[in-house]
Amino acid sequence: MLYSKEVMDHFRNPRNVGEIENADGIGEVGNAKCGDIMRMYIKVENNIITDCKFMTFGCGSAIATSSMATELIKGKPVEEAVKITNKAVVDALGGLPAHKLHCSVLAEEAVKAAVKDYYDKNGIAYDQEKYKQGTWGHDHN
């Protein structure tokens, strides 16, 4: 089997699929040319991510990592959620094949992009350098 049981579970029954109307932050990363795009919506109340949903165009691991990432950040304070690493997502999924690790970076970036959007919309100051797109691992451009 290419994927672990956990990956297949999150792929077959993805958690938190869909969009959030009036989301407080929306992040979209990846590009269709490369075969993967992830869009993440977050709802923030009192600095806590109360809801999180995603839409993904991509392979099995892209869908599973999106799903797992939403699970990991839901209920977390924003500044904690944004620290989520692709490694944490992969570990929570019981690992990914080496050539698929690339897809997991997308989940980390989608969370970051959604939080950045939330900060921008609410005039919250953050370290611009840390959120510059070019520094993200999954930049195909």
Binding site: A32, R39, C59
Partner: protein
């Protein structure tokens, strides 16, 4: 399981296995040995060679058993280039949609100073003979164009290509791995100098194939060793494999029209039904395609996730998405026929066989639309297409 990946490989026929068994068990002699058991094995091998030759209208001495299609492609191309090199001819013509066994061999030759012209295949996935005529140069030593494409099933105008090559005195190799056993091949009539085939693509065993090389074409060895295969391929002969190849090919050729009729009816039913799905498109020419090949793109979804869900539903299929090819780019074949990257990622290949039933096709037709819809529902690309933020291309 509904097995629709017959371009990947096919089920070994029971009867083929039965004919192979004696040479895996009691008749285990080495065909190069002088004793009775060895000589019996040699007779069986010669007989298999004769039978394979007859199926493509070649002579027995023009058939070399190999490990399969990739080895045959490698040896054919390298041999033709070594011959060309001696005359100072270092130009090769091929198409953009060849199998990697051909393309990667050519890349290696390019590094050795050969020039390669890659012919366009246009939207229909078919080479234009006029383009070939224009591309042939004084120093062209080889034209290598596949008989039928493994992904989109398009059949190339092999007879016309062979004629042009013969007139110009250029060697013509065709990778016929997907064609042999599925459509009739006549190396004489089609002016083919070199041809590759693999047994497992027509219900024979894996690990055995053949290279046809016209008697005036001197082969170069890929494998040095003993005098097996007329000195052109070292290594103890795979007698059981050769028998399996011969039996499977004879069976396939005997039933070729009957099987094609069966497959075409199911293929066309499947194509018609899948094209009912909005924003889907057939890849490759509708008419000039293998009887068993269906290849369709669905906008807004990615192929690997489609395959995984189909697998869950009991359907074995294949895709040209990057994730299934293990690279960042989707299939070079789909890009060559002009599909944009994002659409090429959403391709699905379903390839039928003589065993495929109407019931299986009906079930497939029932399952696929729902799976496509499910993936589109969670796709931001599909969302953009729906909201007009992205333009439909199919």
């Amino acid at each position: 399981m509904i097995y629709l990946d017959n371009a990947g490989t096919t089920r070994l026929d029971d009867q083929v296995l039965d004919k192979m068994m004696p040479y895996l068990k009691e008749e285990y002699g080495n065909a190069s040995s002088l004793h009775t058991m060895g000589q019996r094995a040699k007779e069986v091998l010669d007989d298999a060679r004769e039978r394979v030759a007859r199926c493509i209208n070649a002579k027995a001495k023009e058939i070399y058993f190999t490990s399969g299609g990739s080895e045959s492609d490698n040896q054919a191309i390298i041999s033709a280039c070594r011959l060309g090199e001696r005359k100072g001819k270092k130009h090769i013509i091929t198409s953009k949609i060849e199998h990697h066994a051909v393309l990667h061999t050519l890349e290696k030759l390019e590094k050795q100073g050969f020039a390669v012209t890659y012919l366009d295949v246009y939207e229909d996935g078919i080479v234009k003979v006029e383009d070939l005529k224009k591309a042939i140069r004084e120093d062209t030593c080889l034209v290598t164009i596949m008989f039928a494409n493994n992904e989109i099933g398009t059949i190339q105008p092999i007879t016309e290509i062979g004629k042009v090559c013969r007139e110009k005195g250029v060697l013509f190799h065709t990778d016929a791995v997907q064609a042999v056993g599925h459509i009739l091949v006549d190396v004489e009539k089609m002016n083919i100098d070199l041809l590759s085939m693999a047994a497992h693509k027509f219900h024979g065993p894996k690990g055995v194939g053949a290279l046809y090389a016209k008697s005036n074409v001197l082969l170069s060895n890929l494998i040095e060793g003993g005098a097996q295969e007329r000195g052109k391929r070292g290594g103890t002969e795979n007698v059981a494999g050769a028998v399996g190849l011969a039996v499977a090919l004879e069976n396939a050729v005997a039933d070729i029209d009957k099987v094609a009729q069966h497959e075409i009816a199911l293929r066309d039913k499947l194509i018609k039904a899948l094209l009912q799905i909005p924003h889907s498109a057939l890849n490759g020419d509708k008419e000039n395609r293998l009887p068993n090949n269906v290849n369709i793109c669905f906008e807004g979804i990615e192929g690997e996730s489609l395959l995984l869900l189909l697998d869950d539903a009991g359907i074995c299929a294949s895709s040209g998405s990057a994730c299934t090819s293990g690279s960042l780019d989707p299939s070079h074949v789909l890009l060559a026929i002009g599909r944009p990257h994002e659409v090429a990622h959403g391709s699905l290949r379903l390839t039928l066989s003589k065993h495929t039933t109407e019931e299986e096709i009906n079930k497939t037709i029932e399952i696929i639309p729902g799976v496509v819809e499910l993936l589109r529902k969670m796709s931001p690309v599909w969302d953009q297409l729906q909201k007009g933020a992205r333009k439909h291309v199919i």
